[in-house]
Symmetry: C2
Subunit: 183 residues, 2 copies
Amino acid sequence: MKIYFATTNAHKFSEVSALASRFGISLGMVEVELVEPQADSLREIVRAKVRQAYLAVKKPVIADDSGLFIPALRGFPGPYSSFVMKTVGNEGILRLLEGKDRGAEFVCAAGYFDGREEVVVEGKVAGKIADSVRGRGGFGFDPIFIPCGYEKTFAEDPETKQKLSHRAVAFTSLFQKLVSSRI
Amino acid sequence: MKIYFATTNAHKFSEVSALASRFGISLGMVEVELVEPQADSLREIVRAKVRQAYLAVKKPVIADDSGLFIPALRGFPGPYSSFVMKTVGNEGILRLLEGKDRGAEFVCAAGYFDGREEVVVEGKVAGKIADSVRGRGGFGFDPIFIPCGYEKTFAEDPETKQKLSHRAVAFTSLFQKLVSSRI
């Protein structure tokens, strides 16, 4: 089965491509201009992305979107994680959480569309927000995110990040569904 | 001249309609489903909105988008003001600004598209963020925004808000351009 991954991130492509091959899926990379709509749910954003990508390539496509969700901040920064990172950053998240519950989740939504069938799934890593910025590895919110059952942030321990990857969980679940439903 | 305003907000429609009539422009209201793209600039969002609205109605259309921009927070919450209001709220903005410069701007971008000509302008109200939430009038960030030259927040003094309205400034400038360029 050949599927096209709408992404401009070559690193992400090779990661997901390796996963896909375990399911007998061959991935092609397509770079298309996608409009990410403002929406409170990653699923909705991914749904829009795969539909636009399908219109552009007219072949089965996949796409994804990720965010950090903090229940004590009613889901902030959620789908707008990259804007929040660019503006208030990790220091801003720490300020906002002073005296609040520090539970948090990294979520990745991964979707498929072939003009007929649509599948959207989510992968999650549960954890908490650290008391300070820790570690120099990773990017984005990695220096303040500690996964459940661990002591170090994703930035301090990139191997654990890779092992728990919300993106890997999402795409594994997506590929399983595609293969088992024989779409 | 007849133009259609893509909005679902009847109050906003009547406010802008009153402004338009001073320029000899008659406004019709159209409720179309518009996808707001994720973009760091209001202009870009408005450009997307008027193009979508034009595709839906095939007549000259206008649309707008607003946000609060705080330079010390690199433009946060900006185009995502309504999501930020729903999640971290005014209390969150106050936390993020502790010890920082409190300058802020309410910005409205207003745009026009008729299938050929596109005009997008901005209206602004400069001010600062108050030290605490003050007043029960208005909505959104009104209780923490004090316009330049005043002492009260927009929520404490809705008349001043109406007088300085960034939306009125933007649409006045837009209508002036449309009338003078005889589009």
